[in-house]
């Protein structure tokens, strides 16, 4: 990062730090609660937790405005929450309830929050890269000034659609920020069995796309880079790419730890824990501020789970509802 300038918007104010902490902590605690409740079988779809990776979503989403879009992955709780998705609607969705953000039809892997422009997440790796591209195309065409943050895992970079998307985004100078969450794993397989080299940033740059790598996913650094990328993109500057090296603390899917499974030990986990962004940012707050935020989050979470518990199941006739969107059509001119 370059040296801080006076009034540099990339340098967090005390307010910024409180907001960042709130977001990091909310995600951490929501997912811990999901993990705690999971064994009770109240959660009705497989969960891919982001615990340990929160800084990426928070660093990117914090500077986004509501009009900006996020295209998340199936490991998408963090992006959904960081962009301002409703906690009760998310938990209700995990519970399979009618009040869920996808009316109980999507589950954990298919979160969506149109009210804050979180696009639908997909369980098929890589598919939300091109759909995010499409949202960016729409923003450019509709001249909304909005940008799109597309999240993808290291595994998703192996799918051809990723390269097709980079090429098109750069060719059409679309306002899209590709955010690669590189946790070094696709399920249990490390990049050494999947990548010929790790020169991804260099590769992305051959498309004329500025690329930056964050070896420890420091939330302040990611946020700063995002602020600069957003400014450039709102100015018509075309796509940007961030490689955020991070670490998945828990198992690929499900609530537990899996350091006993033989495919990794907990040495890296301990390193990453030592620089846990939730704690680091929390440590920069006053105790009063931190306690107040923590308490508010606990209340919010408790209410969200209670809401999910109390919500009704979808009525049987909902099975057939929403297969097709209705026929309303009002032409729009002057876009």
């Amino acid at each position: 990062m370059s040296a801080p300038r006076p009034n540099d918007p990339t340098q967090p104010t005390a307010d910024d730090l409180r907001r960042l902490y709130r977001s990091l902590r909310l995600i951490r605690r929501v997912e811990e609660e999901v993990a705690r409740v999971y064994p009770t079988d109240k959660i009705k779809s497989p969960v891919h937790l982001s615990i340990g990776q929160e800084a990426v979503a928070v660093g990117v989403c914090d500077p986004l405005e509501t009009r900006d879009y996020v295209s998340p992955t199936y490991r998408g709780h963090a992006a959904y929450l960081a962009k301002g998705g409703s906690v009760p609607a998310m938990i209700a969705e995990l519970y399979g309830k009618a009040t869920g953000c996808a009316a109980g039809k999507g589950g954990s892997m298919h979160l969506i929050a149109p009210e804050v422009n979180v696009m639908g997440a997909s369980a098929v790796v890589g598919t939300t890269v091109p759909t995010g591209l499409g949202a960016a195309f729409a923003q450019k065409r509709l001249r909304t000034g909005a940008v799109v943050a597309v999240f993808l895992g290291d595994g998703a970079t192996e799918e051809g659609a990723f390269y097709e998307s980079l090429n098109f985004a750069a060719l059409h100078r679309l306002p899209v920020l590709f955010v690669m969450e590189n946790n070094g794993l696709a399920i249990h397989t490390g990049t050494e069995k999947r990548w010929a080299t790790d020169r991804i940033c260099e590769r992305v740059e051959t498309y004329g796309i500025p690329a930056q790598r964050f070896p420890t996913s420091d939330v302040i650094d990611i946020r700063a880079a995002t602020i600069e990328a957003i400014a450039a993109m709102r100015d018509g500057g075309g796509p940007h790419f961030l490689e955020c090296v991070t670490y998945r603390w828990r198992e690929h899917v499900g609530p537990g730890y899996d350091y006993d499974q033989g495919y990794r030990d907990d040495s890296a986990y301990k390193e990453w824990q030592a620089r846990d962004q939730v704690e680091l940012i929390g440590g920069r707050l006053t105790d009063t501020d931190r306690d107040a935020i923590d308490a508010a989050i606990e209340t919010e979470i408790a209410e969200a789970f209670a809401f999910a518990e109390d919500s009704p199941w979808p009525e049987p006739d909902r099975l057939y509802a929403d297969l097709y969107a209705d026929r309303d059509f009002t032409p729009v001119r002057g876009v």
Binding site: G120, L133, A321
Partner: protein
């Protein structure tokens, strides 16, 4: 209301897209080569000139991501028409079509919708061969959440295009290359042909021929041949395949007691299988038969390609065999050729 203006299928497609784009500025047209001088065999001619490169543009050869782009643009406020010069190339976009487009509205509980049109063309003959000739509409019919339409004439090409663009769901728009030069009466003002309403093109009491896409014409020509034998055929055009007008097909089948479904595609798990299965479930007493591509890959050699497709003579023979089993009948090749002069222009 009958119109007296005739238009070719290709120009009707063009007019349909043009009017849809004039009507709503969210509509854009993209896909490989839509903006070159060949203009997808003329169907996109003049559109880049009228609407500009922002709304009419070619793409890299990246069908997978471009399909995703259409979906993403559609869910965030645009109305794309994605164009493929061959249906075969859709196989590269299958993941986005099957796993995203068809499911988006349902999977997110109605929170978003995907108003997009995917145009693609069935190729035929001139030795195009295995990978440039497939009619793969049945693959899309199988997946809930997609709509599938297959205009057999210029009138429907325009009316279905306008209806498809106005629809808030992904619509697979199946064209047939051999239909491009065919003419029909087409109103000049924008109009819609509704989905899910089959149309009787010709009435006859002895046998019901259901044709899909270009096979409507082959059926009409078969009907001419059959008439010479004293057999009267009803020819029915389903117009849209999803939704499918099962009731009308059943009614027209019950009237004659004899049904042949002729598809521009394979029969196994095809549109023709779907129609027969539905009728079977209804307990129809009619005799029923499917015709379509031979159950092989499409060969290039004209000696074999000719045998690959149903044609007026083979359709007429099948109907004859159904009505007068055991009686030999093979239409005079000269008369069978003449059948190719039959064409349906309307009124609709």
């Amino acid at each position: 209301m009958t119109d007296t203006r005739t238009l070719t299928y290709v120009n009707a497609l063009n007019e349909g897209m043009r009017q849809a784009m004039r009507e709503d500025e969210r509509v854009f047209l993209f896909g490989l080569d839509v903006d070159d001088h060949k203009a997808i065999q003329g169907s996109t001619k003049g559109l880049v000139e009228e609407f500009g490169a922002e709304r009419v543009f070619t793409t890299p050869l990246s069908e997978d991501a471009m399909t995703g782009l259409a979906i993403g643009a559609a869910v965030s406020g645009m109305r794309p028409i994605h164009t493929h010069i061959r249906m075969d190339f859709l196989m590269l976009g299958m993941n986005q079509l099957v796993n995203m487009a068809s499911k988006y509205h349902y999977m997110y509980g109605g929170a978003a919708s995907v108003p997009m049109v995917v145009r693609s063309m069935i190729g035929k003959s001139w030795g195009q061969g295995a990978q440039h000739s497939q009619g793969l509409h049945a693959l899309f019919m199988h997946i809930p959440g997609l709509k599938v339409v297959a205009p057999s004439n210029a009138h429907d090409a325009k009316g279905l295009m306008i209806a498809a663009v106005r629809d808030n769901n992904p619509v697979m728009f199946v064209e047939h290359r051999l239909l491009y030069p065919t003419e029909a009466f087409v109103e000049e003002a924008p109009f819609e042909v509704p989905f899910g309403k089959a149309r009787v093109i010709r009435e006859g009491g002895d046998v019901t021929l259901v044709g899909v896409s270009n096979m409507v014409n082959e059926c009409l020509r078969a009907a001419e041949l059959l008439q010479e034998e004293g057999i009267e055929a009803t020819v029915l055009d389903p117009v849209s395949l999803i939704p499918l007008d099962y009731d009308r097909i059943a009614r027209e089948t019950d009237k004659t007691g004899n049904l042949i479904v002729v598809d521009n595609g394979w029969t196994c798990c095809g549109a023709s299988a779907e129609i027969l299965a539905d009728l079977a479930e209804r307990g129809t007493r009619a005799k029923m038969k499917r015709m379509g591509f031979a159950p092989t890959t499409c060969p290039t050699s004209p000696a074999l390609e000719a045998l690959f497709y149903p044609n007026p003579a083979t359709i007429a023979q099948a109907a004859h065999e159904m009505l007068r089993p055991g009686k030999t009948y093979s239409p005079d090749p000269e008369r069978a050729k003449l059948a190719y002069q039959v064409a349906f222009k309307g009124p609709f």
